[in-house]
C-alpha cells in the first residue's frame, strides 16, 4: 500500500494494516489455545455445565474489570476494588440483617440492601475519584490507601470473624446468584448486559472518546474543551458502582463476608484488562478484550483444578506472571509498530 506514498491527496477511508488486526485478535487466540488445552486434559472440560460455571464465576471479576477498563483507559488505576467489594458485601449483610426484624426477610429488606450496596459503591468510587482529581493525588496512592481502609473496615465490621446473612433473607436473595433467566444463570445475564452497555459506551459515546483522549494526553484533552476532572471522577464513580454490583451478586453465593473475601480481586481485574489489550498507560481501551481476559484467567484456574501436575495454589502466581507478560508484549508491540 505504501506505493501511494507519493503524497497526493489520499481519501481517508482505507482499511488499517493487517498486522494490527493480528494484534487485536491476540486475546481470542490465547482463549482458543486454552480451550484446546482444557479439552485435551479433561473430557468434562468442554461441557455446557463447566463452561457456564466458568463464565458465572468470571462474572464478578468481569463486572469489576469492566469498570477498571474505563479507569485504566483514562490513565488511572484503582487498586481498592477487592477491598471495596468485601466491604460492600459486609455492609449489605449488616443492612439486610438489621432490616429483617422490622421488614421481614422478603424482597423489601433484600432490595434495600442491594440499593445500599450500589450506593455505597458509587460513593466509595466517587471518593477515590475526588481525591485523584480535586485532591490532585496520584491514583496509585489514593487507591492503595483506600484498599487498606476498606479491608480494615470489613475486618472491623466482622469483628475479626465472619458476617453471615440472615438465613431466611438468604433464601429470598439466593436466586440472584443461582437463578436463571431464559436458562441462563442470572450473574451471566447481568455480566453480558454490563459488557454490552460498556462496549457501546466506550466506542460510541463522547464519554468513551473523552476518556481515551485524557488517557492519551491530558493536556491535549484540557485544551480541547474536555472537562478532564469531571470525566476522570466519573470513571472512578462508575468503577465503584460496578464493584457494588459485583458485591450484590456475590453476597448470595456464600451468604457471608469476612476479611478474606475478594482478596486480590484487584490483581485479577487489572490482569484481565491488560490481557484484553487495553493500554496500561491509558489512551486505548476495549471492553470485549477485558471480557475475554477475565474468561482466560478463569480458564487457567479451571484447568489448574482439572490436572494434578501443577498445584492449583499457584493460580495467583500465574495471574501475576500473566499481567507482567501482557505488559511486556504491549511494549514490544509499540516499539515495533
Amino acid at each position: 500500500m505504501s506505493t501511494a506514498a507519493t503524497e497526493q491527496q489520499t481519501p481517508p477511508p482505507r482499511p488499517a494494516r493487517i498486522r494490527f488486526r493480528l494484534g487485536a485478535l491476540g486475546p481470542l487466540l490465547a482463549l482458543l489455545l486454552l480451550m484446546i488445552l482444557g479439552a485435551a486434559l479433561n473430557g468434562n472440560f468442554l461441557t455446557v455445565a463447566n463452561m457456564a460455571n466458568i463464565v458465572a464465576r468470571a462474572s464478578f471479576i468481569g463486572i469489576i474489570a469492566i469498570g477498571a477498563t474505563f479507569v485504566i483507559t483514562s490513565g488511572g488505576i484503582d487498586l481498592s476494588v477487592g477491598s471495596m467489594a468485601a466491604f460492600i458485601a459486609g455492609m449489605i449483610i449488616i443492612i439486610v440483617n438489621s432490616l429483617v426484624p422490622s421488614l421481614g426477610a422478603g424482597w423489601g429488606s433484600v432490595g434495600i440492601g442491594i440499593a445500599a450496596g450500589l450506593v455505597i459503591g458509587l460513593i466509595g468510587g466517587a471518593a477515590n475519584g475526588a481525591l485523584v482529581t480535586i485532591g490532585r493525588i496520584e491514583p496509585f496512592i489514593v487507591t492503595l490507601g483506600s484498599l487498606g481502609i476498606f479491608r480494615a473496615l470489613i475486618t472491623f465490621l466482622a469483628n475479626g470473624g465472619t458476617l453471615n446473612l440472615n438465613f431466611q433473607a438468604s433464601d429470598t436473595y439466593s436466586p440472584l446468584y443461582s437463578g436463571s433467566l431464559l436458562w441462563i444463570p442470572v450473574p451471566i445475564v447481568i455480566f453480558v448486559l454490563v459488557a454490552i452497555v460498556a462496549e457501546v459506551a466506550m466506542r460510541r459515546t463522547t464519554f468513551g472518546r473523552h476518556i481515551a483522549a485524557i488517557g492519551s494526553n491530558e493536556q491535549v484533552a484540557r485544551y480541547s474543551a474536555i472537562k478532564v476532572d469531571r470525566v476522570r471522577l466519573t470513571t472512578y464513580a462508575l468503577q465503584g458502582l460496578l464493584v457494588g454490583l459485583a458485591a450484590v451478586l456475590y453476597v448470595p453465593k456464600f451468604g457471608s463476608a469476612n476479611s478474606s473475601t475478594a482478596v486480590l480481586w484487584e490483581l485479577q481485574a487489572i490482569a484481565a484488562v491488560i490481557i484484553g489489550g487495553t493500554t496500561l498507560r491509558g489512551g486505548f481501551g476495549r471492553i470485549w478484550g477485558t471480557v475475554v481476559g477475565v474468561i482466560i484467567l478463569e480458564l487457567i484456574g479451571n484447568i489448574l483444578n482439572l490436572q494434578n501436575l501443577i498445584s492449583p495454589y499457584l493460580n495467583q502466581a500465574f495471574q501475576g506472571a500473566i499481567i507482567i507478560i501482557a505488559v511486556l508484549l504491549q511494549r514490544s508491540r509499540r516499539t515495533t509498530a
Binding site: T10, H210, Q219, F284
Partner: protein, 507 residues
C-alpha cells in the same frame, strides 16, 4: 565570513552515497554530505525532505540502508544510541536530552562523573563545570536545577556537555526554533567560538536569514534527494527557496485587504492581569488580523490562555461583542466563538498516538452525536472535508497524528480548530517548525479566514510573518503591551525596537 582553514581542511565527517528506507518507504536517496573542521554546514529543506534522518545517520542514531560514513577519512560504523559521543560526534536533539530534576553540573558530567572508587568528587566536578561554562561565556550556576533554566540556557548546558566530551563534530537539530532573537545571537557567538577552536558544526534550520548569516556551506535536500551543496555566500533567499520547494515561491504572503476601521469590535480586553501578564488592553475588530509580536516569554501565550479560560485571570475585563464574558474553561470560550490554537502541537494540540479522525473532532464531538451515540460516518465526512479544505496529506487513514509531518500536523490542528466554527481564532505560532510550502498555504488560509469576516489574533515569533499578515501589530515585553503599530509603522525595525525596550512605554 568563512574561515580560511575550514575551506581547505579535509572533511572530518563525511557521508558517501547514503540511502535510507524505513520499511518500504525510502527517505534518503544516495546523499553525499561532509563537514570540515571549523566549518558551519547548514542543512535546509522542507519537512519530510530527510534532514533529520541524515543527521541521525551522521551521529549513529540510525544506520544507513546503503552507503558509508567516513570519520577522519576512515570508513566507520558509528555506534548507536548516542555512543558516537565518545568518538567526538555529538547530536543535540530538538527536544533536549536533559533530566529536568538534575543540577547543571550533574547533567554535564552525566555518565562520566569524576569519581574515585565509586564516590563522586563533587567539588572537582563543580569546579570543572564552572570553568567550562566560563570559557563558553555562559552565565549559569552549576548548582541550578535544569528545570529552573530557560530554554536558551538549557541549550547552552547541552553545548557545554558536548564540549566537555571533546566534541569534534557538533550536530544541532533546529537549535534556534525555540530561541528568541537575543538568544539566537548568543548561540551564534557560541558557534563562532566553537568553530574558532576547530569544531565542525552541522545544523538544521528553517530560517533562511540565519542560515545565510552563520553557515559557510549549505546543503539543500528535497524529497530525500541531495539538490545541491553551495557556498552560503552564493545563496540568495530566492535561490534557496527555489531549490527547497522545486518551484518558484511567488507571493509567500497573500495581499492584505484594507482593514475596515468601522467594523464592529468583536473582542475588547481591558486591564487584563494574570500570572505572567499585567494590565493588558486591546481591541479586535471583525475581519482583522491582529499580530502579537514579542520575545519568547513576553506573555503573548499567557494573554491568549487568560482570554480562553486556560489561565486564571486575576483582574481586568473581557468583552465579546460588547458583552462581558469571563470564561472559566475552554468549553465556555468555544461556545462564545473564541478558539485558541496552541503552539505546542504534540504536547497540547494533538493526540499523537491516535488517528486523524478522533483528533479532528475532539473539540466538537457533540456535533457528531446521533442521540447518545457517536456517528462515525459523520466524523469521517468531517475528516474528508478537512483533508480537502486544508490539504492534509497522510499516507492512509490509519496513520496516527504523531506520524504526520509537522506541516500536516499543523493543518490537522487548524482543521480541528475550525471545526468549532469560531468567529475569533487565536493562533499561537501557527507555522513553527514547518516548511516554506506549508507556511505559504497557512498564510493564505489565515488571510482567507479574515476576508470571510473571522477575526484573528496571530501570535508569532517570526517577524516576517507578523509583518506580512497583520493589519495591526501589538508588541509585548515583560508581560505588558509596549507598543501598537499600524500601517507603514509595521516594520521589522520598529517591532525589534519595541521588543528590546528601546522604544515605547517603559516596562
Amino acid at each position: 565570513m568563512p574561515i580560511e582553514a575550514g575551506t581547505q581542511a579535509p572533511p572530518v565527517l563525511a557521508a558517501n552515497r547514503i540511502s535510507k528506507s524505513f520499511g518500504e518507504i525510502p527517505v534518503l536517496f544516495s546523499v553525499d554530505f561532509d563537514v570540515r573542521a571549523g566549518e558551519v554546514h547548514a542543512i535546509i529543506g522542507e519537512n519530510g525532505a530527510g534532514k533529520s534522518t541524515l543527521i541521525k545517520i551522521l551521529s549513529g542514531f540510525e544506520q544507513p540502508t546503503s552507503g558509508t560514513i567516513a570519520y577522519d577519512g576512515r570508513v566507520v560504523t558509528l555506534p548507536p544510541n548516542g555512543e558516537a559521543e565518545a568518538l567526538g560526534i555529538v547530536l543535540i536533539h530538538q527536544e533536549f536530552n536533559l533530566a529536568e530534576h538534575l543540577r547543571v553540573v550533574d547533567s554535564i558530567f552525566l555518565g562520566r562523573e569524576i569519581a574515585r572508587g565509586g564516590i563522586m568528587d563533587l567539588g572537582q566536578m563543580r569546579e570543572r563545570a564552572r570553568e567550562l561554562l566560563q570559557t563558553l561565556h555562559v552565565d549559569v550556576d552549576p548548582n541550578a536545577r535544569i528545570d529552573t533554566l530557560s530554554v536558551a540556557d538549557k541549550q547552552m548546558v547541552e553545548i557545554a556537555k558536548a564540549i566537555s566530551r571533546d566534541a569534534r563534530v557538533l550536530i544541532m537539530d533546529e537549535p534556534t526554533a525555540v530561541l528568541s532573537l537575543g538568544e539566537t545571537e548568543t548561540l551564534f557567538e557560541q558557534i563562532h567560538r566553537l568553530t574558532a577552536r576547530g569544531v565542525a558544526i552541522v545544523f538544521i534550520s528553517h530560517k533562511l536569514d540565519e542560515v545565510m548569516r552563520i553557515a559557510d556551506r549549505v546543503t539543500v535536500l528535497r524529497d530525500g534527494q541531495l539538490i545541491a551543496t553551495v557556498e552560503a555566500r552564493d545563496l540568495t533567499p530566492d535561490s534557496a527557496a527555489r531549490m527547497m520547494v522545486g518551484r518558484e515561491l511567488h507571493n509567500l504572503y497573500p495581499p492584505k485587504h484594507e482593514p475596515d476601521v468601522d467594523a464592529p469590535r468583536v473582542l475588547s480586553v481591558r486591564h487584563l492581569s494574570a500570572p505572567g501578564i499585567r494590565d493588558v488592553s486591546f481591541d479586535l475588530r471583525k475581519g482583522e488580523i491582529l499580530g502579537f509580536a514579542g520575545l519568547v516569554g513576553s506573555g503573548r501565550t499567557a494573554v491568549a490562555e487568560a482570554i480562553v479560560g486556560l489561565r486564571h485571570r486575576t483582574s481586568g475585563e473581557i468583552e465579546v461583542n460588547g458583552r462581558v464574558a469571563h470564561f472559566a474553561s475552554v468549553a465556555q470560550s468555544l461556545a462564545a466563538g473564541i478558539a485558541y490554537m496552541t503552539k505546542d502541537r504534540k504536547g497540547k494540540g494533538l493526540l499523537t498516538n491516535m488517528g486523524l479522525r478522533p483528533n479532528l473532532t475532539l473539540l466538537t464531538l457533540r456535533r457528531h452525536l446521533r442521540g447518545v451515540f457517536l456517528d462515525t460516518g459523520s466524523e469521517t465526512r468531517a475528516l474528508e472535508r478537512a483533508v480537502r479544505r486544508f490539504d492534509i496529506r497522510a499516507r492512509d487513514a490509519s496513520v496516527r497524528a504523531g506520524q504526520l509531518s509537522g506541516g500536516n500536523q499543523q493543518k490537522l490542528m487548524l482543521g480541528k480548530t475550525m471545526e468549532s466554527e469560531p468567529a475569533i481564532i487565536i493562533m499561537d505560532e501557527p507555522t513553527r517548525g514547518i516548511d516554506v510550502g506549508t507556511k505559504q498555504q497557512i498564510y493564505h488560509i489565515i488571510a482567507a479566514l479574515a476576508a470571510e469576516g473571522k477575526s484573528i489574533i496571530l501570535i508569532s515569533s517570526e517577524l516576517q510573518e507578523v509583518i506580512g499578515l497583520s493589519h495591526r501589530v501589538l508588541v509585548m515585553r515583560f508581560g505588558r503591551i509596549v507598543g501598537e503599530l499600524v500601517g507603514d509603522q509595521i516594520s521589522e525595525e520598529q517591532i525589534v525596537r519595541h521588543q528590546m525596550g528601546i522604544e515605547g512605554k517603559a516596562a
